[in-house]
């Protein structure tokens, strides 16, 4: 595979994995949880 194809693949994968990982990290380490079972 040519270098520029690897480059595009690498950058796109890095952005997506980085953002997905960051979001899940923040989400899983967050103290905020959803409330459950409000009465109506």
């Amino acid at each position: 595979m040519p270098l520029d194809a690897w480059l595009f693949l690498g950058i796109a994968w890095a952005i997506i994995m980085g953002m997905t990982g960051y979001c899940f990290y923040k989400l899983l380490t967050s103290k905020q949880q959803l409330g459950s079972g409000d009465e109506e």
């Binding site: 040519p2 796109a12 952005i15 997905t20 979001c23 905020q32 959803l34 409330g35 409000d38």
Partner: protein
């Protein structure tokens, strides 16, 4: 007695449900084909631009609108829109959020049925030894669809379809936490696991370690990723990227609003929405881009894959070719087939459940239906749409449903909600709503993107879809050196603005809104289809006049050609295998033909002649059926408007309006 309000059980469950809503069949079948067709790696440039200017902003807009509507007791688009403007227009505009979900669900559930059938049949090793033609026959028996026949009935396919609808209704009836969230918590990790196993297994295929391989799977990855920068100045590529982002994130349907409406005011939407969006991107770009095309290229060679994905869809590869390719994986084949169709099933069901919930929520909220009764009502309301989908050729109903509900109306709905959110309700108010409880600092420039860029971008997409031209241009065919006419859509007109022309004569393309209304798509397809049948008839007639010796001579010539390629110097292993593969396929066709009796040849010709007549009748009848189909869609919209009118009359009578 106080009624317990439905809520999501956990944030991770909500993220998986939202991501499941977004991750659909398109992630694995459409994205790789679109990327390969529209510039390879360079496609990712407009793709990420579209993600920033349309995708992420609209995700946050829909989450914010949904959560705000939920605080005022509304869980479906008509009510949610009404909370943002008191003008009644928006309530009836919001009906689109129920209508799209219902119409899309009618054919999406049918495709979900196929994935279920294929997964089961794979596990039973039913595809063992089958070639793509054999798999095509299995598909034909499942759908009952035959070329140029309007009626398509398959009793067992219908039975499975009923089972699939029942399964969805049952899960929906269990509610958010015990139904949708539970399925997403199981389905999404399994989907990712199956996809990862297939991607890793597939990417390591090389001709050295697999005798059946024509090329290394990385050749397929190259086909998807190799940047073709020259395509970046083609507006059609930018539109394709925006379209892909739009459809992959399930925006413009009303399902995100509905899911978000079960959140409380202080619950975060910025981080949760972004997580769901990026999870979808992970499934699409990383997993989706690494399975279908790399595996297909490894076993079929690049040219056949290019041919099969030229239309920008990987459906034919995924459903007709893949089961036969897995046969090359020996004992792992049934498991691989099960994993492929299993992941497609999970992708489909997590999306179809999201389509059912808005209508259910509407019936629960406005007519005090119980969960079970509203789920059943969703199943019943599906029938007038699902039955034509299952009983008629896909050209007559499901393709039309997909075009109007699954393509055009999504853009219309998204543009409406962007205007409502940013301009009518007010951007300052909207921005405050988005940031309420936010655990992720949304950069301030999104304020301006949502207010100015997103609506303009959507307007451009809409105008380009409504007035889409054929845009034919004369160009030189690189292969033959002769001039040829090629459809270029908007490209020659937009380039002509800068270069001063020439502009082709304006004709509406068959896949544009106006062209579609004028049935130009049928006018475009019909001559090509009839021509291909005529060509087959001509060949069959010529074959009748040939002797066995002539047929044998052709096979001998092919054998000699293969032997010459075996000895030819300067070819790489992949090139040699690809050449031999092509010749081998030709030889198989010729040998199959040689074994036919004269009666069988006569029968083949008769079948083709009958097919010619059927095709003529089919294309003559199709416009009428398309019109019936459109009347049905308008009728369903009107019916939902009446329901909304009735619901608000009840609200007024009860002093709730």
């Amino acid at each position: 007695m106080a009624k317990k309000k439905e809520r999501w059980a956990s944030r991770v469950g909500l993220v998986l449900a939202m991501a499941g809503n977004a991750v659909g069949l398109g992630n694995f079948l459409r994205f790789p084909a679109q990327a390969a067709k529209n510039g390879g790696g360079a496609f990712l440039i407009p793709y990420f631009v579209a993600l920033v200017v349309v995708g992420l902003p609209l995700i946050w807009v829909e989450w914010a609108m949904g959560r705000y509507g939920g605080q005022h007791g509304h869980h479906s688009a008509p009510g949610i829109f009404q909370t943002h403007s008191r003008n009644r227009f928006w309530k009836y505009f919001g009906v689109m959020g129920l209508w799209s979900c219902l119409v899309i669900a009618s054919y999406y559930l049918y495709i979900e049925t196929w994935t279920m059938a294929y997964a089961g049949y794979s596990l039973m090793n039913g595809f063992k030894g089958m070639d793509p033609e054999g798999v095509g026959n299995f598909f034909g028996s499942l759908t009952g669809e035959k070329d140029y026949q309007l009626i398509a009935i398959s009793p067992w396919g219908m039975g499975l379809f009923a089972l699939c609808i029942t399964l969805n209704v049952f899960i929906l009836s269990r509610g958010l936490a015990k139904g949708i969230e539970l399925v997403s918590k199981v389905g999404m990790p399994l989907l990712i696991l199956f996809a990862a196993i297939l991607a890793v297994r597939g990417l390591f295929i090389t001709p050295e370690n697999d005798v059946n391989a024509q090329a290394p799977a990385l050749e397929g990855l190259r086909f998807v990723w190799e940047p073709r920068y020259t395509q970046l100045d083609d507006p059609t590529v930018w539109l394709a990227a925006a379209g892909q982002i739009f459809f992959t994130l399930s925006i413009g349907m009303g399902s995100i609003h509905c899911y978000a409406s079960y959140l409380r005011q202080q619950d975060d939407i910025a981080l949760t929405g972004a997580t769901a969006g990026w999870t979808n991107e992970f499934c699409e770009v990383i997993l989706g881009g690494s399975i279908l095309i790399p595996i297909a290229v490894a076993y079929l060679g690049l040219s056949e894959v290019q041919e099969r994905t030229a239309g920008g869809s990987g459906f034919s590869l995924g459903f007709f070719v893949f089961p036969s390719l897995f046969n090359k994986w020996g004992a792992f084949a049934p498991v691989a087939g099960f994993m492929w169709f299993g992941l497609l099933f999970f992708a489909a069901i997590t999306s179809s459940l999201a389509m059912g919930q808005p209508l259910m929520a509407f019936l629960q909220q406005e007519f005090n239906y119980s969960r079970e009764k509203s789920a059943l009502a969703f199943g019943v309301m599906l029938l007038p749409l699902a039955l034509p989908v299952a009983l008629f050729h896909s050209n007559a109903f499901s393709d039309e449903f997909d075009y109007w509900a699954g393509t055009v109306m999504l853009v219309v709905f998204a543009m409406g909600e962007a205007i409502l959110f940013a301009w009518i309700s007010g951007m300052d108010r909207g921005w405050a709503e988005m940031l309420s409880g936010a655990e992720l600092q949304i950069p301030r420039f999104f304020y301006y993107i949502i207010k100015y860029v997103t609506p303009v971008f959507l307007l451009i997409i809409l105008v380009s879809v409504v007035f889409k031209p054929v845009g034919e241009v004369e160009m030189l065919d690189k292969a033959t050196g002769k001039p040829k006419t090629e459809a270029q859509s908007w490209t020659p007109y937009l380039r002509g603005l800068f270069t001063g022309g020439p502009f082709p004569r304006w004709e509406f393309a068959g896949d544009g809104v106006i062209g579609k209304l004028l049935h130009n798509d049928i006018a475009e397809t019909r001559p090509a289809k009839l021509k291909s049948i005529d060509e087959a008839i001509r060949k069959a007639e010529a074959d009748l006049k040939r002797t066995d010796e002539q047929r044998q001579a052709e096979i001998t010539a092919l054998n000699n050609e293969s032997a010459a390629i075996e000895k030819k110097e300067g070819l790489t292993l992949e090139e040699r295998r690809a050449e031999l593969y092509k010749l081998d396929n030709k030889r198989k066709d010729l040998e199959k033909n040689r074994t036919l009796t004269p009666e069988a040849r006569e029968e083949r010709l008769d079948r083709l002649l009958a097919s010619r007549t059927d095709a003529e009748h089919f294309y003559e009848a199709l416009p009428t059926w398309r019109n019936i189909d459109r009347l049905l869609l308008v009728g369903v919209y009107a019916f939902l408007c009446v329901l909304v009118f009735w619901a608000w009359s009840r609200r007024r009578a009860e002093g709730r309006a």
